[in-house]
Amino acid sequence: MADKFGILAKFDTPADIMHAAEKVRDAGFKRWDVITPFPIHGMDGAMGLKRSWVPRFTIVGGTTGFITGMSMIFFTNAFDYKILIGGKPLFSPYFAFPVSYELTILFSAFASIIGMFILNKLPMHYHSALKTEKVAEMSDDKFFLYIESEDPQYDDVKTRSFIEGLHPVEVSDMEK
């Protein structure tokens, strides 16, 4: 069944899904995820997730913002149209600092949001999980785990029996 997106398993409690996630992680699956109505502390570790790459976007954004602030003030006040105010130097990092500092924060925030969108592949207008009728339970009081058929280890029969071995309440297929 090549047009199957994956296999979906339902769990009743956060503890159950944590243990299930640990087993899936240890089995070495790559393309899988859990869907829970609220964040569960420790799930990152149970899923074997590494630290997010967003901070790298942030530092690049922040550095760009700082340089932008400094060079913008240098360009406008001391280069393009020289303005002498109160006997101050045409350019000084002191008075350029507050602006550079705020641009650092602004650009960091933009970069973080953009980085988060890129890493999460957002905007994502369609996901197979939205197609199942269980989508209501996903945002209410049940906990789900799915393994995609794209996973290199995926095998229709073996993966299904593996998932059943996690003791879920219910197992179902996900359409593409």
């Binding site: 420790g42 901070p55 101050k88 002191y94 008075f95 600092f97 507050p98």
Partner: protein, 408 residues
Amino acid sequence: MSAERDASLPNPTKWLLIGAVGLIISFIGMFVDPRMASFCYLIGMIFTTSITIGMLFLVMIHHIFDAYWSTVIRRQAENFLAALPWMAVLFIPLFLITYLYKQDTLWIWMDLDHELHGHGTVGTDPLYLKKTWWLSETFFWIRAVVCFLAWIYFARTFRRNSFSQDEDGSAEHTYSSRKHAAGGLIVVALTWSMAGFDWIMSLEYHWFSTMFGVWFFANSMRAALAVLVLVAAFLVAKGPLKGIFNTKHLHDLSTLCFAFTVFWAYISFSQYFLIWNGNIPEETFWYNFREEGMWYGVSMFLIFGHFLFPFLFMLQFPLKTKYPAMVFMACWILFMQLFDLIFNILPSLKVHGHTAQLFHQPLGFLWLAASVLGGIGVLLWAYWTSYYKVKIIPIRDPRIGECLNHNH
């Protein structure tokens, strides 16, 4: 009820001896070179006092926010509070030297006949005459006593509440501490700023900066947090806190260190920037003295060493959760904190009308090292003495369970 004396942990008496040696050398210095040695003594005394006051702030912040992650390390901050009465004792020599030797040894305005370089004496200085109501000698000493009494009162209250709770487990102690924290934060913030104005800013009484108290606060917080990181790392390495204090706690502590790094930079920069931008001679002269000779290099070292390097270092998550990295950073911050105090205090010393350099005589290093060592010795003596008397963590604190399971 006391923790067993562990042979691998330091002996308090040893620290008292180290402190005594340091203090004796710096007292000898007061006879050899009274002014330089007194300034160095002032630096050493403020350095150690700022660590204890920072601890007092941390305990109060813990209580006012009903925080839970810091419960595990709060006891160590309370142990440091035991040093506050001894800091008051360390202050007495400053009083004595101005009485027994010369009134203008440290704060030149105490002597109305003190010659100002090029324009008369303090007694005829209009800028002094306008400030006589605040800068009167009796009032100055009274203020110092009031400050110390207030700090000791709050320190004792928090210690008593916390230790009694170990005995009876009553939640009343937590409520009492929370109420005291609410009042104490205001009182200690005001008195600590006042101490900064009196002890450091009035060394050069022409100068004024309303931000100075905030700078003093930021500095003491940085010192206290650095010491707390060192103590935690030490106790984890030696065993007592192993398995109790985890890397999540360390991460939170490091994050506070990082936050106060930014806060210190923000305050220091704002103070400089406003004075630079205003460009009024009655304010700028203070910074002009601090650009003479080697002080220019010191101020650059502060910008990059006390802000930029710690900022970039602690910006990185992996470093904030590793003991060796944070121990290095804490030592670095403490060293730079001392430099910052030197930068703020020592240029106020005028030798024949010129700003004192670091140092005119090589012996200056000796007086400074001796004073700092003396203060640190007394501080750690008080800490370890208190440490052996009480439990390692507040075991009956309502928040301790949550804190031990701190996991995010």
